[in-house]
């Protein structure tokens, strides 16, 4: 067996969820190497959630992942939000700060959903401008995640992957590539997930996400309520061959399993990464 030079197998993390707090505070032995915390759950809290995150951070690297930055919103980033996020970053010292390539509201209404953007030059300009403002305030590069979508805009001017890459190139941000989301959107909108993934340059990818979707019969729904499916694992295998040392995350938000169940999915991701690392 031969190992790739200047590389190491992917470090696998999991989403930090309150249901696992008691187990994690027992400091169990685990192959999980890092945790991802939802930024908004800790930004405004000085209570138990932040206390637990601080304890976890003492033992593990942490990434912060937001859901309400609204980087594609025409109203631009909200100063109060960025101030709270910056304070959390200063406290947690995450190795990566990410959010989603979408918008989440308008007219001061927050829909608390990841609303897809049209793939237009105007949207590229808006996002690039917003990323620049955000990165200036935070003093660091951020990562943006491709979202699952259930609709497309008739007047989009480019493919989603082109939109994603153009924004990353022009703004200097990184890409959090959610493999499950690519599969969900590819199935919903009838494009090839492999072609999408192959169009994303390695150097732009800061992290991979793996999660589970629900088949609603008429469309795939990104529910994060189950383990990644076989097609998603196959896409993951494809990516990890290309970029064997990228951080990988198992995401699970609904019907969250116990710690052992979540750990099993992380172990699977590790196993695949190591297999491909060893035979590469």
């Amino acid at each position: 067996m031969r190992k790739k030079e200047n590389s190491k197998p992917a470090e696998v993390g999991v989403g930090l969820r309150p249901v696992h707090f008691p187990r994690l505070l027992e400091r169990p032995r685990t192959p999980v190497r890092w945790f991802e915390a939802i930024s908004e759950n800790y930004m405004d809290s000085r209570g138990r959630p932040l206390e637990v995150l601080t304890k976890i951070r003492a033992d593990f690297p942490v990434a912060l992942h937001g859901v309400s930055l609204s980087i594609g919103g025409v109203e631009g980033p909200r100063p109060g939000y960025l101030k709270s996020l910056k304070a959390l970053i200063d406290r947690v010292q995450p190795f990566l700060v990410t959010d989603h390539l979408c918008f989440t509201g308008a007219h001061k209404k927050n829909i608390h959903d990841l609303l897809p953007l049209p793939y237009t030059k105007e949207a590229v300009r808006t996002v690039v401008s917003n990323v620049s403002k955000v990165q200036d305030v935070l003093g660091r590069t951020i990562g943006l995640e491709n979202v699952s979508s259930y609709l497309t805009y008739k007047d989009s001017e480019m493919r989603e992957e082109q939109f994603l890459v153009e924004i990353a190139r022009k703004s200097g941000c990184k890409i959090l590539l959610d493999v499950n989301n690519v599969y969900v959107s590819a199935t919903n909108h009838g494009f090839k997930a492999e072609e999408y993934l192959d169009a994303i340059p390695n150097e732009l990818i800061a992290q991979l996400h793996l999660g589970g979707y629900s088949d609603m019969g008429t469309f795939l729904f990104d529910t994060h309520s189950r383990a990644p499916t076989d097609p998603v694992w196959e896409l993951y295998r494809r990516m990890i061959r290309r970029i064997p040392n990228v951080p990988v995350l198992i995401e699970w938000d609904e019907a969250v399993p116990d710690w052992a169940g979540l750990e099993n999915e992380a172990k699977k991701a590790i196993r695949i990464a190591r297999e491909d690392y060893a035979v590469a």
Binding site: E40, N41, M43, D44, S45, R46, G47, R48, P49, E51, S68, G73, V74, R78, Y81, F103, G105, A106, H107, K108, K109, N110, I111, H112, D113, L115, L117, P118, T120, E122, A123, T126, S149, Y150, L151, T152, Y153, K154, D155, S185, T187, N188, H189, M216, G217, T218, F219, L220, F221
Partner: protein, 251 residues
């Protein structure tokens, strides 16, 4: 294609309020969804997420009102009151009043119970008190001392007895009777030096004394001014204040 600003406005309107026909006409549904059905995915998701957030905050109200009544109220509230915060946990500050208007006749206590749950949630996210130990406090305090309280304390007067309803066993489905909620009470919510939130019902004289102390009144005067506070009750109150981690400084 409308501008991005117009498009986003129409999308948000369609998710929150009335579906915007102009928006539907410029999109295509994913999978086998029509454009209208695709908008429906986002439109249905919005109240579902807010209802879930309300359910987490107002768990006892949910138990008291039952699934049907509570969830219908959540859906109606979500359509009426937009979320303006990035944090779902902030949603629902006016929900107690909304519940009162909807259920106040059959459940007169519901607003007080909802306020208690909201304040508990607020305190849960509050920082812990950097409290003086009981021994440090007993050495430092004099009759004319002013006690400094930490941020993690709330005094909640209510017109109905709701603390025991809030703490009621989840599996207890005994129907409530008027005597179960009649009569006012004052609940003290607080954190000590750690993150757990504690609660206790306190008598009016004790509440009066604590309120005075929190306003910066000298200890001896605050206790003396609390109507109905006996000497024994005053000693017990000071003992509680000393040992519960409420006080962060003495001057």
């Amino acid at each position: 294609m409308p501008s991005l600003k117009v498009l986003q406005s129409r999308f948000v309107t369609s998710a929150f309020g009335e579906v915007n026909a102009a928006f539907t006409s410029c999109i295509e549904g994913g999978g086998k969804l029509s454009a209208a059905e695709a908008v429906g995915v986002y439109r249905n998701g919005y109240p579902a997420r807010l209802s879930e957030a309300l359910g987490e905050t107002f768990e006892a109200c949910w138990r008291m009102l039952g699934d049907e009544g509570f969830l219908e109220a959540c859906q109606a509230y979500a359509r009426k009151v937009p979320s303006t915060s990035h944090n779902l946990s902030d949603y629902g500050s006016s929900f107690p009043e909304f519940l009162h208007k909807r259920f106040g006749r059959e459940a007169p206590f519901i607003r007080d119970l909802a306020v208690l749950e909201w304040e508990y949630k607020e305190l849960f996210h509050e920082g812990s008190n950097k409290a003086l130990t009981a021994s440090a406090l007993s050495v430092a305090v004099k009759e004319n001392s002013v006690l400094k309280f930490g941020p993690a304390i709330r005094l909640l007067p209510s017109k109905h007895r709701v603390h025991h309803l809030w703490r009621r066993d989840r599996n207890d489905d005994t129907p409530l009777r008027r005597k179960d909620w009649e009569g006012g009470e004052i609940t003290l919510l607080y954190k000590g030096g750690g993150t757990p939130v504690f609660s206790r019902v306190i008598a009016a004289p004790e509440a009066s004394a604590i309120r005075s102390l929190m306003k910066g009144r000298q200890l001896g005067r605050a206790l003396a001014a609390a109507k109905g506070l006996t000497a024994a009750a005053a000693r017990n109150l000071f003992s509680f204040i000393s040992s519960s981690g409420l006080v962060t400084g003495v001057s």
